[in-house]
């Protein structure tokens, strides 16, 4: 995806690498207690191999980077705020590592984890 040409040759960063950055950023985000597989097949393979990009989708169409995050949020926190903060953090970390602007970060809240009921 992200490509850069230098006198020595070109640098190519794969979507999977970007997804790993986003994944790590999301897990450090307050309120996020996990990322969820998008579908059953993903979920099954995940049991076998711990995927460092689970719940993250990165699309690159040659111009725009679009990241989709599927997250689980701690019950009792303000979902909108947490989701907004994840989007911010992911965008910031990816842009910082890549040096290329991210055009979209879509956050999908796929579930809540209940540790305590009030």
């Amino acid at each position: 995806m992200s490509e850069e040409y230098t006198p020595n040759g070109s640098i190519f960063v794969s979507p999977r690498a970007v997804a790993t950055i986003a994944y790590q950023a999301a897990l450090k985000s307050y309120g996020v207690v996990g990322l969820s597989p998008k579908n059953l097949i993903h979920g099954l393979t995940n049991v076998l191999v711990k995927d460092p990009t689970q719940g993250v989708d990165v699309h690159y169409d040659g111009q725009n980077i679009v990241i989709d995050m599927y997250i689980v949020i701690e019950y009792g926190t303000r979902i909108k705020t947490v989701a907004g903060s994840v989007a911010n953090t992911v965008r910031f970390q990816v842009e910082k590592s890549l040096g290329t602007p991210v055009s979209q970060v879509n956050v999908h809240v796929s579930g809540l984890r209940v540790s305590d009921l009030d």
Partner: protein
């Protein structure tokens, strides 16, 4: 509710918390105190961000979250501590802004769960609630980063548990927890490399510390409206006014513009500047900082050396304040008072004046000599003598303008070969009234008799503060009360200046007169004087009310009613 800094409130707050159980209403007060204190210091918290970060407004976010929490309970009459805590948590959850706001709301949520629906808070419950707050906050993240607000919450809870071994008193436990929170905040750069690189402590942790400290400050009666340190926008800095605040020994003003290498640790910056001088101001705009300080002469280069170690200096301005002050004082002196020129054979008047403003009024009416003096600073015979001995005329009128000075004036009159008459004005308005009859070219004896008559045509009101309890002329006064005297007789006592003035005018039958002149004293502001004049104008709509800067000591107002 207001937060005052006066000492008298000190005990009130403490008693409020020492003698009463900490119930829901007490929590409400404490939440407001912590919100106020955080808001006061929000700029400092904002400035602690590791640049550049996506969440660069921690202070604002925490304030808005706490504001939402307080709004939830602001009108609540709930007495149950636990229920009130749940309401706070609900408000914080609904209003959570930013990462720090979400964590804060989780802390409140855990705290509320910890106090369940207990009626009042005691030591063990508080320690339990702190632990719950910590646990709940930690549950909200997969990989807790240490060196953040979470760490501060953890250390605070640990200190509270430790304190419980010594005391059951929740206020003492709170005090010890806050000490631990402070240390924990200072320790955050050791745990988080990003903070250390940026030379700051964690913003969220600092915010939490301010929230806790605000409660304690309120209980201790300390002010909540003065920030620890402040940075203002460059455009808002007003350095012109700082000349008025020069303290002895602060001889040089240094103003430096600089671009810091790394984000400024404001607290440290202020701390170091405070060791050098006073009148510190720091402004920021577009990454450029401007700092202003007054320093003693031997330290005049220290701010420059220090700032150079922090960043790139773009501009330095240094001024010698002593020299400037002298220039200002000289200007003031030259503007002092223009006395009327006297020619040989004319009648000259020497007036005793208790204040600069009054002296100016006398001068504008054509007085040829002014002697300073009044109620507690009677001028000597010699002083009065000197005022007219060198005037190029031998026809002199003295206006003592105070009963106690009449004798000294008469004595001076006998010590000279000049023809001197004392017109015994007992008050400033009497003297001014007499001045209006002065005709410098006129016949001496007829002018003097005109002036003597004028004295009786004016009524004098004086407003001052009673220095002891007394009952005079049928009016009872207590020490510290505002008292009003009409023609040197006590007629009215009150607690407010305005009431004293109005009471006095009523006793003087002011509505029968035409003009009231209000000379305000050295301890009254122009603003207050005009305010009172306006009130008088509203009561006596047919009268003209004039306000003059009298500058006299002791008397808040001298009123001339004519």
């Amino acid at each position: 509710m207001e937060f005052d800094s006066e000492n008298s409130h000190h005990n009130k707050h403490q008693l409020q918390f020492l003698n009463k159980p900490i119930d829901g209403q007490a929590l409400k007060i404490l939440v407001e105190a912590s919100l106020t204190w955080l808001r006061t210091n929000q700029q400092l918290v904002n400035s602690l961000n590791v640049f550049p970060v996506p969440d660069g407004d921690t202070g604002i976010n925490m304030v808005l979250t706490m504001q939402a929490a307080y709004d939830e309970i602001a009108t609540s009459a709930e007495l149950n501590f636990g229920k009130m805590a749940h309401a706070v948590a609900h408000g914080a959850l609904m209003g959570a802004r930013g990462n720090s706001g979400v964590i804060l709301s989780q802390l409140w949520r855990g705290f509320a769960r910890g106090v369940d629906n207990f009626e009042i808070l005691d030591g063990p419950k508080m320690v339990h609630a702190f632990a719950e707050a910590r646990d709940t906050a930690y549950k909200g993240v997969v990989r807790p980063v240490e060196g953040t607000i979470l760490t501060v919450a953890k250390d605070t809870a640990a200190a509270a548990a430790e304190a419980l071994k010594d005391t059951q008193d929740p206020l003492q436990i709170l005090g010890k927890s806050i000490v631990a929170a402070d240390i924990s905040v200072e320790h955050t750069p050791e745990l988080l490399a990003e903070l250390k690189r940026a030379g700051v402590v964690d913003a969220g942790g600092k915010g939490l510390f301010f929230l806790l400290e605000g409660m304690l400050r309120y209980i201790n009666g300390e002010p909540l409206d003065t920030a620890v340190t402040t940075v203002q926008p460059l455009s808002a800095m007003n350095l012109e006014d700082t000349l008025e605040t020069i303290e002895p020994g602060q001889d040089y003003e240094v103003v430096i513009d600089f671009r810091p290498f790394v984000p400024l640790n404001l607290e440290k910056f202020y701390g170091n500047l405070e060791k050098m001088g006073t009148s510190i101001q720091v402004g920021e705009g577009d990454g450029i900082y401007r700092m202003h300080i007054h320093v003693p002469i031997e330290k005049r280069y220290e701010p420059i050396d220090y700032t150079m170690s922090l960043g790139t200096i773009t501009k330095i301005a240094m001024e010698n304040l002593i020299d400037q002050m002298q220039a200002i004082e000289e200007k003031a002196r030259s503007q002092k008072i223009k006395l009327a020129p006297v020619e040989t054979g004319q009648i000259a008047v020497v007036a005793v004046s208790p204040g600069m403003g009054i002296a100016r009024v006398f001068a504008s009416l054509g007085v040829a000599g002014i002697v300073e003096g009044g109620q507690t600073m009677n001028p000597s015979t010699q002083d009065i003598l000197e005022a007219f001995e060198n005037l190029p005329t031998d026809q002199i009128v003295i206006l003592p303008n105070n009963k106690n000075i009449i004798l000294a004036a008469k004595a001076a009159a006998e010590l000279t070969v000049k023809k001197v008459t004392v017109v015994p004005s007992r008050t400033v308005p009497e003297g001014l009234s007499a001045m209006l009859r002065l005709a410098p070219e006129g016949d001496f004896d007829s002018v003097v008799s005109e002036m003597n008559r004028a004295i009786d045509e004016v009524q004098t009101g004086e407003i001052t503060t009673a220095v002891r309890d007394a009952e005079i002329d049928g009016v009872k006064v207590k020490e510290g009360e505002i008292i009003a005297m009409l023609n040197r007789k006590l007629v009215y006592a009150s607690h407010s200046l305005e009431k004293a003035c109005l009471g006095l005018l009523e006793k003087a039958n002011a509505s029968d007169y035409e003009l009231i002149t209000l000379f305000y004293g050295a301890d009254v502001t122009k603003h207050d004087a005009y305010h009172i004049a306006q009130s008088i104008g509203e009561v006596y709509q047919n009268l003209e009310v004039e306000v003059q800067d009298g500058g006299q000591p002791h008397y808040h107002f001298i009123l001339s009613i004519e």
